[in-house]
Amino acid sequence: MDSTYYNPADLAKFGNITEWQPEMGNKFFAYYAEVFKDGALTEREKALIALAVAHAVQCPYCIDAYTTDSLQKGADEAQMMEAVHVAAAIKGGAALVHSVQMMNKAKELSM
């Protein structure tokens, strides 16, 4: 097998992180489960947010996991792609908004 940093089979082993630090790991997973329950936001809305964030942080495990989860929670293709566009807009906007700083600096240095 090719050696890569990411192995899809590792996603299923996520829970194993508790082996080396049970207390923190268990608290994390309990918190994680609580976060994704139906609340002020629906489970579907939370799955779509997670999907968008997964793209923003470019985590392949999370993209696999939250594509599946979004489908399970009843999202369709259009909703999932719009969620990714939200991530893209924020990532792109975050780059572009810094151009104001660039403009300020350029103006400061220019005649």
């Binding site: 139906d38 629906t42 489970e43 579907r44 489908l71 399970q72 929670k73 009843g74 293709e77």
Partner: protein
Amino acid sequence: MKSLQARHAPLSDTGYQLTVLTEAEAAGARLPAFGQKLREAGLLPLRPTALQTMQINVGRMCNQVCKHCHVDAGPDRKEIMTRETMQQCLDALAQTDIAVVDLTGGAPEMNPDFRWLVEQISALGRRTIVRCNLTIIVANKKYYDLPEFFARHNVMVVSSLPHFSAGRTDAQRGEGVFEKSIRALKMLNAVGYGQPDSDLTLDLVYNPSGAFLPGSQASLEREFKQRLGREFGIVFNNLLTITNLPVSRFLEYLLESGNYEKYMQQLVDAYNPTAAANVMCRSTLSVGWDGQLYDCDFNQQLDLLVSGTAPKHIRDFDAGLLQDRNIVINQHCYGCTAGAGSSCGGATT
């Protein structure tokens, strides 16, 4: 798309399906036997509880060819129940206090004796459930009055609508099915089905349109009610989430899409012993189009007859012998015990 049978596909042989199921592997290892899981839960042999539902499959003929159909139904399937066999079902029913008769298919309404059967069930004072695919109501003018007919007999209508978007519904059930389903739902609503002040029950069935498990039934019901209400003015009572079992055309889809091993592993990983105790085969008798008896509609489509000394045909119905049987299980049963559980009545936990 044609049925597996019409295409002479290898999976039209139920023996081959069982071989594929039994030999399922994930990551190079054989999956644990379902019976082993039941043994660990103290449920082996799996035994019936009180018989509550007679589910009658009145035929494999259907106006749709859904990709996930475990019956391999379609317009090219000609097997339908005769009135003589229906009468044998009614005779058996009269010997029992079974309260609910669940009519399924195919499209059960396509059986020419369908309405007669519903009338006879009503005459016996039992409740009928019809598993209506919705599009049959608008398929031909001879079916346009089905909503009124159902209402007259207080038939509980249970209809598949896998998504509130046309794309995901049509991907599973065929081009144009969503639009026709919406028209049919409006006709059912118009005669009182699903309305808040009505006793006419309209439940929708959600099956995932792909190789994944259903999400929370309560959460999906809220989403469906909101979307169907807002966009189409449609109301209904309950959403029932049903897991797709790896049988027949859904098994074909899993194999052809390369999802089979992962899907089986998902079902095994999501095994829930509470759901195992609540499986519907414990309280159901399934009757095939030819009168043969099974533990459930999935076993029926895999030709797995009831076991032991239990009568194999409805004409020989014997409640005592049936109650004394061991339920036949195989690897497909993982589909009913995954997550919140799955049955014709939705989640089981």
